[in-house]
């Protein structure tokens, strides 16, 4: 654990002490070395859960894929931000990269935490750098509204969680995940207990987000600069899923009855957000709503508490993280050239930037869950386990999958095919940096086809 954390913390001296012209080179090199070192967490040679353990941090098959995803994403964020941040004064560039690194540190501590209060504090701590990135470096005036929605939705969900955790600490004497997994099921009978159950999950449902409390997401994703959108879509949403999976261990047997409304909301959300995607004119907004839909499926998979549901949830979280981040990067390449997110203004890009079209195609295929990509495997596991739970869910998930395929195809056709508008026939050619950025997103998804057991979690 420390062999990742200490180099990450040492990124701060690297950022602030590098000479101006080597700032980005050293940052990208060091963050890629950290990403390489993080792959050592994937070694899971025992049949039992936790490894790499010290008193406060450990990894287990649930947190390891998310940790590796987090460490992989930092160099990608740095690559993506390099163009739009470089005109700024040097200290502001250093501040920006420092915010990304601090997010990375909080996320490693959050996913590695073995004590739930530590997880909670890191969960809250990730809000601050994200808020600063959105409100300071966002491009439109709506970024202030977006920051407010983002902050207050998440805080409103997580303050009840704090109370619930303190109550649990009072009753159990510990909040260590090592011991909580072995406690007896709690006798939860009163209304207060049911509120406690809801308080445990609400923060994570808001974060995922669940349809109904999802309004912060389109705003935050759209107004954030590219690094903000990437980290939000790829990792911060998964904090919600991860938190839910950790808390589920203790919330049985109440979950059997109380989860119904949330499962229904999640499934309905897939259809609703998918339909909204089909009507979007703003490119980033489409990708943001597609994240809500996919996370709705993940939420459904977690709430039914079956082994396949959990496994499908983890697979889909990782696969969606990479695919969604790739789509945001692609949207950003279009935005940096045309300074507009309106899809109608940047059509027919295949004529001008054909290799970029290949990446758009692959990212759209990943989004619509094409086999044999892990996106499909995760979705299929969740859909089948939900079918096992209740036959009727197949109606909702089936229509949801259909609509997902439709809007992913719509996204590809609207941006790449069609007539090239006359005002953008002279666009800057694609940079090597942009090609590298997208391939570094897509290659891991493809490699995961070959060894999916890395992301199967501990239930399979």
């Amino acid at each position: 654990m420390l062999k990742i954390l200490i180099p990450t913390l040492m990124l701060f001296p690297t950022i602030w002490l590098s000479p101006a012209k080597w700032l980005w080179t050293t940052s990208i090199a060091q963050s890629l070395i950290i990403a390489l070192a993080s792959l050592s967490w994937l070694k899971w040679s025992s049949e039992t859960g936790w490894s790499s353990s010290n008193l406060y941090l450990a990894t287990d098959p649930l947190s390891t894929p998310l940790l590796v995803l987090t460490c992989w994403l930092l160099p990608l964020m740095i690559l993506a931000s390099q163009n739009h941040i470089s005109p700024e004064p040097l200290n502001r560039q250093r501040t920006y990269i420092s915010l990304l690194v601090s997010l990375q540190t909080f996320l490693i501590l959050a996913f590695g935490a073995t004590e739930i209060i530590m997880f909670y504090i890191m969960f809250e701590a990730t809000l601050l750098p994200t808020l600063i990135i959105i409100t300071r470096w966002g491009n439109q005036t709506e970024r202030l509204n977006a920051g407010t929605y983002f902050l207050f939705y998440t805080l409103a969900g997580s303050l009840p969680l704090l109370v619930a955790l303190l109550l649990l600490q009072n009753d159990n004497g510990t909040l260590s995940m090592f011991t909580l997994q072995y406690t007896q099921p709690l006798h939860l009978l009163t209304w207060g207990d049911k509120l406690w159950w809801a308080a445990c999950l609400l923060a994570f449902l808001v974060k995922m987000p669940l349809y109904g409390v999802h309004l912060w997401l389109p705003k935050a994703h759209v107004e954030a600069p590219i690094a903000g959108s990437m980290i939000l879509a790829a990792v911060l949403l998964k904090l919600g899923g991860y938190g839910m999976m950790r808390m589920m261990v203790m919330l049985d047997p109440l979950t059997k009855e109380l989860a119904y409304p949330f499962i229904i909301l999640a499934l309905w959300g897939i259809i609703m957000t998918g339909s909204i995607c089909l009507r979007q004119t703003d490119l980033k907004s489409l990708i943001a709503y597609s994240s809500v839909g996919h996370m709705g499926l993940v939420a459904g998979g977690i709430l039914i508490q079956t082994p396949w549901g959990f496994t499908g949830a983890i697979i889909l979280m990782i696969a969606h993280g990479l695919a969604s981040s790739a789509l945001f990067c692609l949207a950003n390449t279009s935005y940096e050239r045309t300074h507009s997110r309106t899809m109608l203004l940047a059509r027919g890009m295949q004529m001008v930037l054909p290799l970029m079209t290949t990446w758009w195609f692959m990212a759209s295929l990943a989004n619509l869950a094409l086999p044999p990509l892990p996106n499909l495997m995760g979705e299929l596991m969740i859909i089948t386990s939900m079918f096992n739970w209740s036959y009727w869910t197949l109606l909702l998930t089936g229509i949801g999958t259909l609509i997902t395929a439709s809007y992913s195809l719509y996204l590809f056709l609207m941006t790449q095919r069609g007539p090239l508008p006359s005002h953008i026939i002279a666009l800057e050619p694609t940079h090597t940096r942009e090609h590298l950025l997208i391939t570094l997103h897509l290659i891991p998804i493809i490699l995961l086809i070959l060894k999916p057991e890395l992301i199967w979690g501990w239930c399979f």
Partner: protein, 148 residues
Amino acid sequence: MLARLSRFGPALTRFRTNPAFGAGFVSQSPPSGAAGSATVSDLQPSSAKESHGHAEVSAFEKNRDYHGFSQDPVVDEWNMRMAFFFGISMAIVVGGTFIHYLPDHGMRQWARREAERLITQREAAGLPLMEENYYDPSKIVLPGAGEE
């Protein structure tokens, strides 16, 4: 007029008429051809000079081998090398090889082999494949029926 209305302003005419860009862009008709472009170049005669560095200048003009990292060609080149080396050669190739050669992840293949071995062993001995009780019932000590 297109140059006035379009987002890029004077830069658009400069792109169109700059011969250095032939490789990357759609080929342009000669400036004397269309009446429209003649009007445009009259309206925006020396667009780049007049905008005094405020027009969008593509980095490809100064550096033919711009990779997208930095305006300084040396830093651009080295940044590209570092990103590709550590990203592709180290993280994906070496990292991928490391992951490929990791031992049996979560002992799943071992579990399968062990299960098959136990099944053949128990079938050969005529034993049931699995007992109904996980714990041996004779070892469970329950309180007596009359005690509370």
